[in-house]
């Protein structure tokens, strides 16, 4: 018995020592010298820009890839791999003059043939990429000469430039595409200032400075993107010095981090427009007075102040975020007035105690649960009886995205609509165009307005910026008057970084931009 226990003890000790030895072999992410660690909310899904749309993927891709056009720090459209472009044939032909001397990370040259290979790949339905609907208006692309590309459209598309800047239209090396095929996702080969090193799933993605970059050489040598799903842990990593930057940061930590002399906090109005869609298939919301009453019943300023600590914009001037291209302030709508709300409900014949089913995607959006409960409280005060139904995100988006049979079961459904193109065409159209009822897209209010449909069409069918703005202004005004939504807030997107990490910023679509970062010692 004694011998058995001794040998058991030795076996256990050996197992633990072996475990410890094996764990030492695993390399980790350390911040040092010209290297930074960025703590993000989740791991990238894929590293092929044409196959992804999530923020964590785009954050990594944005340091490795470039497109014909991009956005600067102020989210203004700027040339990137195209030096210039001209429109002709009423806007149906775009001629691109490409930048010379640009190399992919594998040494291949970026030129018109390389761009065409990528465009053909994006437009080929057989590839099933996420570029199909975004570039549906592109008929084809042809090489005019080594550095000139001609793009022909099926119809004028005023939103196309923004779409091309929207991070899905970033180029992979044709040689890499030919070599890796569908596995290009794991072997990203762009033209950006950083090139891919490795990807340990759920642990880190590492990129290093690309010495052959055509533009200004980055100050950083290496960037490591580290997924940290728990917000408190993300903040802790930053405060402990294990990360140089973290985004997003929870609202409740902002004040404390601002008081930390070693850190600086960054924020920007996000593109998210948090709202409750009012189901106009249901009789109660067919009456505009009821929809307006619901808006008067809820104090959006108080929600911004008390739930978001002031770090949000109330959607009282437009249904969309101020950062969306095409945003216009169309008035001051639905200032908190519960008496007016009761009056409108009474005039519309809504009985006190009328039940309303409110769907909320629990934990999907910043403070979504708290906002939902606050809204329910406000609606109770004006005599309605809201019943909150919470669902996890996958179930929620599956159910709201279903074809109604025959009508959708909710009365109010929460959503925040944010588009990577940062343009009103899809930013408004995705949720208000009458052809975008579920399952096609997310017009969860089942709203139909000829004025809005025509305005959105007009905005799309011209490349004149001023005319587009005017068209979208008409659409926004009509939407605010018709109130197909309970308009709520556009929260800010917040990040924080060590004081010595300069030239980093956060962007409205979500995510942080670190490619121009430098460590100031």
């Amino acid at each position: 018995m004694n011998r058995r226990f001794r040998s058991l003890g030795w076996i256990c000790t050996a197992a633990v020592l072996l475990t410890a030895a094996m764990s030492v072999l695993v390399a980790g992410a350390q911040s040092s010298g010209g290297a930074v660690v960025l703590a993000t909310q989740s791991d990238a899904a894929r590293l092929d820009p044409a196959a992804t749309g999530d923020v964590p993927s785009m954050m990594v891709q944005s340091v490795m890839f470039e497109g014909l056009v991009g956005w600067d720090k102020d989210q203004k459209l700027v040339p990137q791999l195209a030096e210039s472009w001209t429109l002709s044939d009423g806007g149906k032909v775009i001629t691109w003059r490409l930048r010379h001397g640009v190399k992919f990370h594998d040494g291949e040259e970026f030129d018109a043939p390389a761009a065409k290979v990528n465009f053909d790949r994006w437009l080929d339905k057989a590839n099933g990429l996420l570029t199909l609907s975004q570039f549906a208006s592109v008929d084809g692309v042809e090489v005019v000469d080594k550095y000139t590309l001609k793009m022909t459209l099926k119809e004028v598309n005023g939103a196309l430039l923004q779409t091309l800047a929207g991070r899905r239209a970033m180029f992979n090396s044709p040689k890499a595409l030919a070599k890796w095929g569908k596995e290009i996702n794991l072997h990203p080969t762009g033209t950006g200032p950083f090139e891919f090193v490795d990807w340990v799933p759920k642990d880190r993605i590492t990129v290093k400075r690309f010495e052959g970059y055509w533009g200004s050489k980055p100050a950083l040598e290496k960037i490591t993107f580290k997924p940290v799903p728990e917000p408190a842990s993300r903040v802790a990593m930053l405060e402990a010095g294990d990360a140089d930057m973290a985004a997003p940061i929870p609202i409740q930590d902002v004040a404390r981090l601002r008081g930390n002399p070693k850190l600086h906090v960054m924020m920007v109005d996000s593109l998210d427009n948090l709202h409750f869609a009012l189901n106009m298939q249901k009789d109660i919301f067919k009456d505009v007075r009821v929809r307006q009453a619901v808006n008067y019943a809820v104090d959006k300023e108080a929600i911004v102040k008390n739930i978001y600590n002031g770090l949000a914009v109330p959607l009282t001037k437009s249904p969309v975020s101020p950062f969306l291209w095409g945003y216009s302030s169309v008035g001051d709508f639905y200032k908190y007035d519960p008496a007016k709300a009761r009056e409108l409900l009474k005039a519309a014949g809504v009985k006190p105690g009328t039940k309303l089913v409110m769907w909320i995607p629990d934990g999907r959006y910043v403070q979504d649960r708290q906002v939902g409960e606050a809204v329910a409280g406000y609606l109770r005060e004006v005599g309605l009886d809201p019943q909150i139904v919470k669902m996890e995100w996958a179930t929620y988006i599956g159910r709201v995205g279903q074809k109604p049979d025959p009508i959708a079961p909710y009365d109010l459904a929460m959503l925040a609509w944010s588009v990577g193109t940062q343009d009103a065409d899809w930013g408004i159209g995705g949720t208000f165009l009458s052809t975008n009822w579920p399952p096609r897209a997310y017009n969860l209010a089942f709203y139909k307005s000829d004025v809005v449909d025509n305005a959105l069409a007009a905005g799309r069918q011209t490349t004149d910026g001023a005319k587009r703005m005017e068209a979208y202004k008409i659409a926004q005004k009509q939407i605010m008057e018709d109130a197909p939504w309970l308009f709520l807030v556009a929260p800010k997107f917040i990040g924080a970084a060590k004081k010595e990490l300069q030239n980093v910023y956060v962007i409205p679509f979500g995510g942080a931009v670190v490619k121009d970062a430098a460590i100031k010692r």
């Binding site: 475990t19 992410a29 999530d54 099933g128 759920k202 580290k226 799903p229 996890e392 995705g430």
Partner: protein
Amino acid sequence: MGRLIGRRLLFLLPVLFGILAAVFVTMRIVPGDPARLVAGPDAGPEELAAIRHQFGLDLPLHVQFGRYLLDVLRGEFGQSLKTQRPVLDEIVPRLWNTALLAVLSTFFAAALGLLAGIVAAARRNSTFDHMTMAVAMLGVSTPSFYLGIVLIVVFAVMLRLFPAGGSGGLIHLILPAVTLGASTLGIVARMTRASMIDVLDEDYIRTARAKGVRERVIVARHALRNALLPVIAVVALQFGFVLAGSVLVETVFSFPGIGWLIVESISMRDFPVVQGSILLVTFVSVLVNLAADLLYGYADPRIKF
């Protein structure tokens, strides 16, 4: 012993099949469109149809299951819908990470728990005994999520002794292992104490004392061996729970383990990863239980297989 191993492995096959069928059907019944979740809300109908076709999600359920079963028998578990990486490439490194964490946390819990339980039993009803059992109860009842955050704040942020999360060597495993092992430590301490007290009241122990054998020798050589038997069983069972229940700790510490992968894959309706993960975790759990039974038999020669 050979018959036991053979029986258990044979029994494993219908268990795995049943688990596979249950997970396969459940994931497809639960609301949520994996194509939409992969593509994002702004994807159009053509893109969604292409994704569904690419992964065979537009085929009848029985055809999908049949194809999947044949692939599994060939050792192919498919590709992740989210990342398009082979499922085994997603799972195996993470399973290994969680196993490392489970071994370390169990060792920490067993070693400290045993020590605390032995001393508490030897000094029954003393202040040390009461304090040890109170701490043990705290370990059992404190939510691991909360404990993890507290350890991060104290030891990573304030004292800077350990990293706040991630992986990268033994140092990254310490705080997660302590968090994960706290509950097991409490159970082992209490179990050891109770078991030691029972054994210390036995006649043969009284005889040893009467013969003048030193108390330290009585505890370490005569009592401990017999008191350990139920503790071994508990530790082996707890190892299985630790392996399966590590998701909260992995999330708090951003530790790339299997628990985090499974939960995230369920949220994303990444069917192949969920199916493969649960299959492998089941396989490992059965092996762990078998190892526990063999260990118990080895420790107690009275047990015959």
